[in-house]
Amino acid sequence: MTVQLHKIAKAYQGNRILADCSYTFAAGGAYILMGDNGSGKSTLFRLAALLEPPDQGEVRYLQGDLTLPPDITLKRRLTMVFPRVGVFSRSVSENVAYGLKIRGLPRDRVREQVARALEEVALSHKTHQPAATLSSGETMRLGLARALAVEPEVLFLDEPTTHIDRANTRLIEDCLLQTLRERALTLILITHDPAQAHRLGGRRLLLQEGRIVEVD
């Protein structure tokens, strides 16, 4: 599934954040988006992930030549994790199970996928702990597990490693690299760490003056 931004624009209270911004994220690619604080990266994510409409332009999801309608079926093929994860006040495993349960998956499939996702982010030992008691780094890993569990085709990650120690950053990166290899996943990740782009080997992008520009 290709994600295409076509001349999108967004302003808040007359402040132009994005203007005439176009870019195509190819299916299966990895993209690392960087940019100054306040440059509009998170805003771009909200628009690209269909959470908010742009003022102008279009966000298109393409399957071959076909533009997919922005309905719940399409929305269930993508997911995103923001710096504030938004954990449900339930156990860690129930948080991960949520996306699978609302898709009506059978119980044993849910259990299986939850266990695997928690293992991928090294949170298996916290399975039954109330999610609200996790540390900030663990919370982010839970957010990641919750997103990976629904097996998205497009994954938007907004600064997933900003509060994570070095070992867990590596763990998350390895997990993402493995997912990229094993599944048809398009990854778009925001970071302030230039080295992360190299480690993930993705296309480097910079958000500047309301537009996406390629670096290198």
């Binding site: 929305k75 923001f82 449900f88 609302i102 609200a132 997103a147």
Partner: protein, 239 residues
Amino acid sequence: METIFQGLVSAVRLIAGFNPELLGIIFLSLQVSGLALGAASALGLPLAALLALKRFPLRGLLLGLLNTGMGLPPVVVGLLLYLILSRSGPLGFLELLYTPGAMIIAQTILAFPIVTSLSHAAIVGVDPVIRLAAQTLGATPRQEAAAVVREARYGIGAAVIAAFGRVSAEVGAVLMVGGNIAHYTRVMTTAIALETDKGNFDLGIALGIILLTLSLLVTVALRAVQRRGRAPTGVRLWD
């Protein structure tokens, strides 16, 4: 002084001896209030969710009315319901006046604004990030609403308990539409009023003790629910 002491002794004897009349009255009271609460919750919770999660015209007015309704004087509810249910009233043909059914309706009317208003406040208080999280994980609008409501479950529990406390202690409305008929519509509060009138303090005091115990239990339950609802870490410094 003597009367009070003797009354207390006899009351304790009635309670300890599982006096059948006493038990019947307690059972009916719990049944009426329980069913009223069930009805009020079934109607009030969806409305509370709707008011909390959707914007629509007259929403503010509706919220104002519900808030006002929390303080509805029971006798006024009793009066209105009496007029509606009495033989010449618009719903007189239902022949509900002086039946437990009428009492359940009265208590439902009293419980409804409490359950709805307090649940609404609980749902509104849920962090908006929860809604976003549900959405990003592929929730339909309905599932999204359910996720938010579920997050407010302790507040909603507290709302239901608070409403139970109010209706089970209420006397005006059930007396007017129930009529305090022995073994049929006589509940704890109306029985106390009647027995005191008759100078028969034993049963009155016994029921008073039960009623006080019940309200104590309600308070304990309310506190327990509120404590559970608090974040286990106290203040959340992230997320």
